[in-house]
């Protein structure tokens, strides 16, 4: 029974460590403040759980004998306060921030799925005969730069030329609005 409990704790420690690292990396990579907030919330949850598992793991160490046990006995009163205090802090912050972030993300997702449904009737990118330059313009559009001035700046061409490229792409794809081009070739999945 005891061996099983200890190995379960070790497994949990490994799992939350992996979660902590993964969510910290994703938080760094994320381009949206709200998504980053949720990543950080998950990372904080994982960190608190980690401290809790460490405390529980050490409580299984035999009370006397080994140097590890002696050291643990000395730091135990301080360290065992960490999980509940950190948990309380993280919980209160999450209670304030998460609902707000979730509401905004729900709006974004509804927008996104409606737009995906909208472009689902357009041909896929491979089926449209685009020139090399037009493909570059599509890449810029997909990255979220939609107006002629910023497309022109990104590609080092004149704004009017960028506009002509966009018009030609819209005609070839049968798109009614240049904002649709941002999702060209993107499918729900």
């Amino acid at each position: 029974m005891k061996g099983a409990a200890v190995s379960l704790i070790a497994l949990n420690l490994a799992a939350v460590s992996a979660l902590l690292v993964a969510s910290a990396v994703c938080a760094r990579r994320s381009g949206s403040d709200r998504v980053r907030q949720l990543w950080l919330a998950i990372a904080a949850f994982a960190a608190v759980l980690m401290s809790g598992w460490v405390v529980r793991l050490f409580s299984h160490v035999p009370a006397s004998g080994s140097p590890a046990a002696r050291m643990w006995q000395r730091v135990e009163p301080i360290f065992s306060v960490v999980p509940p205090v950190a948990g309380l802090a993280v919980g209160v912050v999450a209670l304030v921030l998460v609902p707000r972030a979730v509401r905004a993300l729900q709006q974004s997702e509804r927008m996104y799925t409606a737009m995906l449904r909208r472009v689902s009737s357009l041909p896929s990118l491979e089926d449209i005969a685009l020139t090399r330059r037009e493909r570059e313009v599509v890449d810029v559009l997909r990255a979220g730069s939609l107006d002629n001035a910023s497309i022109a700046e990104r590609l080092g061409i004149a704004p009017n030329t960028a506009g002509t490229h966009v018009r030609n792409i819209m005609r070839k794809a049968g798109a009614a609005d240049r904002r649709d081009l941002m999702l060209l070739g993107e499918r729900n999945g």
Binding site: M1, K2, A5, L8, I9, L11, N12, A15, V16, A18, L19, A22, S23, C26, S30, G31, S32, R34, V35, L38, A41, I42, F45, A46, L49, G52, R56, S59, H60, V81, P83, P84, V85, G87, L88, V92, A94, L95, P99, R100, V102, L105, Q106, Q107, S108, E109, R110, M111, Y112, A114, M115, L116, R117, V119, S120, G144, A176, D177, R179, L183
Partner: protein
């Protein structure tokens, strides 16, 4: 002292659990729902740990309760690591798209209590499914493009929204209820 802290912890995370389950029940967006599931699963672990440490007998380090908690916590962590994380990765793109499609950043409060005619309601439902231009609306609703445009203009005036893409976010009762 520590017991009181754990109890407070359990109460806070029970609140988070209730809030996220409530949001989950009303959520109609798949990826946000996945994230909410992850948050709920993880809060559950904190509630159980908090309750065990604050209410349980001293030295709660043995017994079947420990094993059950360990197994559940592992499961919750894996759920968060797969479902929640998968949902969040896709939401990054959703945020990027929404930022370029809307005149205002997403997260604005939506107008409430708007009186729309049945015809206008069906226009909004069409817009919800991604039908946006006058020509497309005309085809979907069997009216002329000019009529479709008039409907959209009237809806925008009533809701005080700025673009028909913003109408995608307008929440109105479904067709059966209205």
């Amino acid at each position: 002292m520590i017991r009181a802290l754990y109890l407070a912890c359990a109460v806070v995370f029970l609140t988070i659990l209730v809030v996220s389950i409530n949001a989950l029940r009303r959520s109609r967006t798949r990826r946000v729902s996945d994230v909410l599931k992850g948050i709920a699963a993880m809060s559950g672990v904190f509630v159980i740990v908090g309750a065990q440490e604050s209410l349980g007998p001293n030295g709660t380090t043995e017994g079947a309760g420990q094993l059950l908690l360990g197994a559940y916590a592992l499961l919750a962590t894996v759920v968060v690591g797969t479902v929640g994380v998968g949902g969040l990765r896709r939401l990054d793109r959703a945020e990027q798209v929404a930022a370029t499609q809307l005149p205002r950043p997403p997260g604005q409060p939506q107008p409430v209590q708007v009186r729309l005619t049945p015809r206008e309601v069906s226009v909004v439902h069409a817009i919800h499914s991604g039908v946006l231009t006058d020509a497309e609306l005309a085809e979907a609703l069997f009216v002329s493009p000019a009529t479709a445009g008039t409907h959209v203009r009237n809806i925008l005036r009533k809701t005080r929204l700025r673009s028909r893409r913003e109408l995608i976010l307008l929440e109105i009762p479904s067709a059966e209820e209205s």
